[in-house]
Symmetry: C2
Subunit: 395 residues, 2 copies
């Protein structure tokens, strides 16, 4: 029988989710078992591990992600190299956790973002949104022999959306609790907020990117302290907030813009960092004060987005944290202060490793796509219609 | 019921095939009805039309196809613009021939080649093959609402193949006649040859790219005569073959290389043209003599490939011509002379418009992919394994 029909009809799927975030330090790989019982999703996390990139891979990703750097051939090659890397790590995850390849039904891969570009650009007189996520799913499927769903943001963009954020639907499936209004905050390179009003209706779910979470902090710790990130928020705790710099940075137009909205390294990457470095030089700021100030920028813009843009805020009973930023205690402490008296927990309370949520999201999208179900929420991405996301590459 | 299952199970599919060739002058769109009766393919061509690109689209394709030109963002935007263009023309074909969108099951799209690059390049210490075909199938599916299969060459390359030529399998399905050994010659920008020994076994089929067909001729008529191509071969008939130039051009290593082999504009594009222009200047050749000489280069390298590399040649009874080059009477006259006493016909004898064969090929590949069937022939592309080609984007 046709392999794809078997996959579509199968009730209980073991799916690998792969994500390499904007920090470009490695690929998060998770294995989940997904099924539906009486119309309700059951998602069981079986395995999770992060496999780091070698330094040269990370450097090439950063080089190509610089919006001023143009090299098509390097990109095309890295697209294949990353596809092979993701494939090898998917196979490694299977082995590392004692599974066998034949048990795995599907891979869902986000790919590495090189360009996000949610706003249209002119090309031959037409306004187009042209993102770039690499790590070719055809290469993953060809290398692993496992059917792979990838490049999921394009279909939403083709439907007029920003292609992001997509995670609100996944957050709904992972965390929704009827009767309990909750907010999910993913602290990745970028922070994104999902509002789950506690109904069972997907269209009630809402969300948007609030701005940077770890992205600028990581860039500064790398530049001034030679460290990939601010472990436990130690540097942030050691410095002081510079109010003038904070006020200056908060003037960025993104923070005031109304959703639907999403953002990336184009806005909070090299150019933003340059502004900060110039400010530091002119005002002779200490390096640790910079880290504290941009950490404060992250949490304050999250708080202000929530209290300024989310209408249902009064009923919210719980803030669920996920993403690498949950390990930054400066973030979590300040978020607890800002969101008080709302209860703040991590996704761990729901049985999901906070680091794995994004990878899990793309396992979920692979599931939805293979079942022929749409994956975008119109009012979240701004799309004109719902779309089955991604490209299916048969293994 | 799941839309994809319905599609997979459907016995008789109406599929649109889209191809824009290396000449970058427009998109060939065909509509075919494909079914299988007792394991045998029945392919009925219902419609065919070529929709030209506007000049600015063609120019941007040529600019981006230049291997020395590097602009990732322009490429990403054109990927979307062409996806939308292909989608609009698929819908136009449906209307132009009196069909309705809901009757169409599937679109198979080759995309526009920007890089072919069948040979590996080094990237971070790894040898990778990284082609580039644009006109995003997610955009086609999203715009038309019709499920689309695209980017078919990647899966073969991921399996170690050159990603080309893929047409031999399609030629087998369109033209194979048990008991009658035949050769199919596609005269596109590049010429490719398929040997159909007259058995019913796919693995007996063989083929390769012989080198340029229209690619260099078109470039020269554009450069020296301001014409897109040499209509009916008139310019070629008006000039004389310059034997020294012909001998010089035939020294290109591609012609002697043993298959599996495939080629593209990287080899017979701007750089090759520059050599010819320099030769012309140095030896004061007439422009029409250049056109005659490169036309002769095309037919002679086809003939020499056939007689030099094809072992089963003695039995071949028929040469079937397809592709835009069939209208070049210099080509057809000389091919008849070179292949005599083998009978030379066009695909029209089989009920297929010669201009439509390549577009038809990608309708066929969409059919195979949706049915979960492999589309590459290992000894033709050099792949290590057979692969289900392409990326399925649900409409």
């Amino acid at each position: 029988m046709n392999k794809l029909i078997l996959l579509i009809k199968k009730k209980r799927l073991k799916i690998i989710g792969l994500l390499s975030g904007t920090s470009a330090d490695g690929v998060d790989a998770c294995l989940a078992e997904i099924m539906e019982i009486k119309g309700r999703m059951r998602i069981r996390q079986l395995a999770f591990k992060t496999y780091p990139f070698s330094e040269d891979v990370g450097n090439l990703i950063f080089k190509l992600s610089d919006p001023t750097y143009q090299n098509l051939d390097e990109l095309l090659r890295l697209d294949v190299v990353l596809g092979k890397f993701f494939a090898r790590k998917a196979v490694k995850l299977i082995k590392d956790f004692g599974y066998e390849k034949k048990e795995i039904d599907l891979i869902g891969s986000h790919g590495q973002t090189i360009r996000h570009l949610p706003r249209p650009f002119l090309c031959l007189g037409q306004k187009v949104k042209a993102p770039c996520h690499i790590g070719d799913p055809s290469v993953i499927a060809g290398t692993t022999g496992i059917t792979t769903v990838g490049d999921v943001r394009r279909a939403d963009m083709a439907s007029g959306g920003e292609g992001a954020p997509l995670s609100p639907l996944a957050h709904f499936m992972l965390f929704n609790s009827p009767g309990t209004p909750q907010v999910v905050l993913n602290l990745g390179g970028i922070a994104n907020l999902t509002i789950l009003p506690g109904t069972e209706i997907i269209d009630d779910v809402w969300g948007f990117d609030t701005g940077p979470a770890n992205m600028i902090v990581d860039s500064l710790t790398k530049k001034y302290f030679g460290k990939k990130f601010d472990r436990d928020g130690r540097i942030a705790f050691s410095g002081k907030v510079n109010l003038r710099l904070l006020t200056f940075l908060k003037k960025d137009g993104y923070f005031k813009r109304k959703p639907p909205k999403s953002t990336g390294r184009e806005r909070f990457g090299k150019g933003f960092l340059k502004k900060i470095a110039e400010y530091k030089k002119m005002h002779r700021l200490k390096s640790e004060d910079l880290v504290t100030t941009v950490s404060e920028l992250s949490v304050q813009t999250i708080g202000e987005s929530f209290f300024g843009l989310v209408k249902t805020k009064k009923q919210i009973q719980r803030l669920i944290l996920a993403g690498g930023g949950v390990h930054n205690q400066y973030f979590t402490l300040r978020l607890k202060e800002l969101f008080s008296p709302i209860e703040v927990v991590t996704s761990e309370s729901f049985g999901y490793n906070p680091d794995s949520i994004e990878a899990l999201t793309f396992a979920l999208f692979a599931y939805l796509t293979i079942k022929g179900r749409t994956g975008n929420i119109k009012k979240v991405t701004g799309a004109k219609k719902e779309a089955v996301l991604g490209k299916i590459c048969l293994g």
